[in-house]
Amino acid sequence: MAKYAVRRALAAIPVVFGVTLVTFLLIHFTQGSFVPGLDFNPSLRPEDVARIRANLGLDRPWYVQYLDWTGIAFFFKNAGLAGILGGKVNTGLLEGDFGRSMIDGSPVLAHIGERLPNTLELTITAILLGVVISIPLGVTGALRRGSKLDHFFTALSVAGFAVPAFWLGLVLILLFSVSFHAWGLPWLPSSGVATPLTGGDLVDRVVHLLMPATVLSFVYLSIWSRYTRSSMLEVLSQDYVRTARAKGMAERRVTYLHALRNAVIPLATLIGLELPGLVGGGLVVEVVFGWPGIGRLAFERALQYDVTTVMGITTFAALLVIAGNLLADVLYAVLDPRIRYS
């Protein structure tokens, strides 16, 4: 197993470089003369743009910028080969340096560190809510297939699929914030993680978390409950379930001990794949609810061509996808003894 994990980790290196290269090229070739953090205006002269681009190192050929960012250029420099690339060379990814934002000059890792806890607060709550609700929902649906309850759950998950998160979010805001406020009822804050200045205690944070977490979990819930249901149905028709029943085992034991454990294996993959979603999956919800998370940071910085910040977050997300996949495979083996890696 350990060998397998190491092999997978090694295989991930080219993937990370591939992802970063593609991201870099996408940003680079759509950027044009746009300078991160700089708004276009008439008093901004072409010579200002040229000067600031040069200060930021954006005037170098794209491969030099990329090699500099990755830290390969720094190796060159140490090997006395800096002359090949020319210009300023900094430490890069390989030296563990994610670079500095091109907009405010602060370290990208500091940005990630600042936003990550907010995103994790939102997504982990949503995923937990999703798991806790979707599994019983799926199991009930499978056990009472064709019943009114099953149809209701089906309709609910179709709705969860079909209703865009931003729309649901806006409707909730309209109802629980604006209308409740107008009606003189207790109302929920429409945006942010905490009340500025006066808030920030646990109750305040939970109150702020309620709507965004509900909206985000709604998406997970509708997908996962369907998976649990169909996978449960399949497992319930297996021979060993009939055997268990034939042995006179209690139905509850059959369902939850024998069937469910096998039924949740595909769900483990899904949840594992949701790991990078821990970081970026809540983007739309983060935007609608003004949640200062990492998805919103990436989105905003991408539109401002803050190359280093976007590259940093992308790399971070790529590492999480790889880790998530690996974790899902390991979980597989834990959940299903038939699966062995060598």
Binding site: T30, Q31, G32, S33, F34, G37, L38, D39, F40, N41, P42, S43, L44, R45, P46, E47, D48, R51, I52, N55, L56, R100, I103, D104, G105, S106, H111, E114, R115, F166, W167, L170, I173, L174, S177, V178, S179, H181, A182, W187, P189, S190, S191, G192, V193, P196, L197, V287, V288, F289, G290, P292, G293, R296, L297, F299, E300, L303, Q304, Y305
Partner: protein, 584 residues
């Protein structure tokens, strides 16, 4: 683009409504729909409470509490020498004063200086006397050394490594800067230049502490902590903390030259979009914030919580013809009659009603009415909607209707594309009106919304468009060289339509090289007639600024130092007198 009150020049909606928000706006439209459904009763309430932000009656100010401002543009950085966007300027303006500031109508007022200086007899030298006993928020004295250092960051060649976006501009006009004694700062221009004080002495050049940054190497200033946490300042508030994507918290600066603020704290909350700003105004989560046109009626329905304040701003929406004869579009629009004809064919009253919700006025020419002394409401021609005149002009220009209903000349059909930024609902609406109303006179115009950055590149550099449609925002000075002067047809300039007129160039140059306002006025009247007559880029509408202000906030609206045309962004002399009625 344009020059905002403090000289923070900006391409109007490039900032206010560019692509990020455009994406949000599409989401916002869903909210507008649901808000409409929920609004049956609220509409009646709105009719009953049609009053708008009345000037505050004289009441004795309440001390304490905080004010929360909401904005849908994120703050980028907090150092006066690096910023170029309005969201950052708003926060920076509360912490850093320049030598001068402005009243709501744009008149200059002294801030760190004791008075607004007059140019010396040579017309070039401006001597600023600093107020006595100026102090930084940390108690250290603020002297002309700090002022000199601030201007060096922008002007002195040894600070070229600092990413100041104002270096090119100030080095073009300013010849020397000096501080002969601790209370005096002298700026000398290279030639007589009327907008000198407006452009180079206001908050765009907010004074920064030399005792913090003076010893920092130029290239290290771009990444200095001061850019995110400016711990020493001279304005009405000082920095407390910045939670990115959430809020910036400021506290009262007890060392402020103008006296202590009534407010203990000031919070600038970063919100995702216009919808949220409107919603939080309604719930009172924010006290103060800008309102997008589509949300105005909705916010007015909550008149028990929030007042809606509107005022004219120096922003217009316009479209520009391609006039470069080497481009296909340039051939279509070379004839003045054609340019006029298309403008006559547009029903702008209707646009104002249906696209701007009546929160704009039909433009009379290139100078907006807020440039009071330079504005000529009778600039000619007037271009009232006149379809017949449009058709006659096109006939006279030799564009005859062909069998397909599209006009032709020498076998060339009258077809072209108009570009604008995708997702901006007002602009997308306007170019659709172009398409319909020009089709009525046999001209085929195809709207082509493109990405914001691509649009900028088209206007400033590539310039292969037939026509573009955007907004432009101006500063306090009526100089419009940015848009009309032939030197700004150079790559990177904003005269993207390549309009070149020796007459207009001369008017513009003469108007900035005299300090005599009467002479300037006559020249700008000439400019308005010339631009109207030649119609290189017809001005469609003059825009309005719209803000929501919570009922509990006092001392913010009304009076020439209140919230208005030139005091809505970074320059906010009213902040000192603002208080919250409940003291919370």
């Amino acid at each position: 683009m344009g020059t905002n009150p403090d000289g923070f020049d900006r391409f109007d909606d490039f900032l206010k409504e560019w692509s990020r928000r455009d994406f949000m706006r599409r989401m916002g439209s869903a909210a507008a729909f649901t808000a409409f459904m929920a609004g049956g009763m609220e509409f009646l309430a709105a009719c009953a409470n049609a009053g708008q932000g009345q000037p505050t009656a004289q009441v004795s100010p309440k001390e304490g509490g905080h004010l929360t401002e909401g904005n849908f543009s994120d703050v980028k950085q907090l150092s006066p020498y690096l910023i170029s966007d309005t969201a950052s300027a708003q926060v920076v303006g509360l912490m850093f004063d320049g030598l001068l500031g402005a009243k709501a109508n744009g008149d200059l007022i002294p801030m760190l200086a004791t008075e607004v200086p007059k140019a010396a007899a040579d017309g070039l030298t401006y001597t600023f006397k600093l107020r006595k006993d100026l102090k930084w928020s940390d108690g250290r004295p603020l002297t002309s050394d700090d002022v000199l250092f601030t201007y060096q960051l922008h002007w002195d060649p040894k600070y070229k490594a600092v990413n100041s976006p104002r270096r090119g501009d100030i080095t073009e006009f300013v010849d020397s800067i000096s501080a002969p004694d601790p209370q005096t700062f002298v700026m000398k221009t290279k030639k007589v230049y009327a907008p000198t004080l407006i452009k180079f002495a206001q908050q765009a050049f907010g004074v920064v502490p030399k005792h913090v940054l003076g010893s920092v190497a130029p290239e290290a200033i771009n990444t200095h902590d001061f850019n995110r946490a400016p711990t020493v300042s001279n304005g009405v508030f000082k920095f407390v903390k910045w939670d990115t994507g959430q809020q910036v918290v400021l506290a009262r600066n007890d060392n402020y030259w103008g006296g202590k603020s009534h407010l203990d704290q000031y919070v600038i909350k970063v919100l995702p979009d216009q919808t949220t700003v409107a919603n939080q105004l309604k719930t009172g989560e924010i006290d103060f914030g800008p309102i997008g046109e589509p949300f105005v009626d909705d916010v007015k329905a909550h008149a028990d919580v929030v007042d809606v304040v509107t005022f004219d701003v120096a922003i217009f929406d316009f479209y520009a013809y391609q006039l470069d004869p080497s481009k296909p579009g340039g051939k279509l629009f070379a004839d003045n009659k054609v340019r006029q004809a298309l403008f006559y064919a547009l029903n702008r009253e209707q646009m104002v009603k249906s696209l701007y919700f009546n929160l704009a006025t039909v433009a009379t020419g290139p100078v907006p009415p807020v440039h009071t002394w330079a504005y000529n409401k009778d600039a000619k021609p007037k271009y009232s909607f006149d379809k017949k005149k449009a058709e006659d002009l096109l006939d006279a220009a030799g564009w005859k209707k062909g069998a397909s209903g599209i006009r032709e000349k020498d076998g060339v059909p009258f077809k072209f594309e108009v570009i604008t930024n995708a997702g901006n609902k007002v602009r997308e609406g306007i170019v659709q009106v172009f398409q319909q109303q020009w089709a009525d006179i046999g001209v085929q115009c195809t709207p082509k919304p493109i990405q914001f950055t691509e649009l900028v590149r088209q206007i400033q550099n590539i310039r292969t468009f037939d026509m573009f449609m955007v907004g432009f925002s101006w500063g306090q000075d009526p100089d419009q060289s940015d848009l009309w002067h032939s030197r700004n047809t150079a790559p990177g300039g904003f005269n993207g339509g390549m309009y070149k007129s020796p007459t207009v160039d001369k008017i513009l140059d003469d108007a900035v090289s005299t300090l005599d306002q009467n002479k300037r006025k006559q020249l700008y009247f000439q400019l308005q007639d010339a631009i109207n007559e030649e119609a290189p880029a017809p001005i469609l509408t003059f825009r309005k600024g719209i803000f929501g202000v919570n009922k509990r906030v006092k001392g913010l609206t009304g009076g020439d130092r209140g919230l208005g045309t030139y005091t809505q962004f970074g320059n906010r002399p009213w902040m000192k007198d603002t208080f919250v009625a409940d003291g919370k």
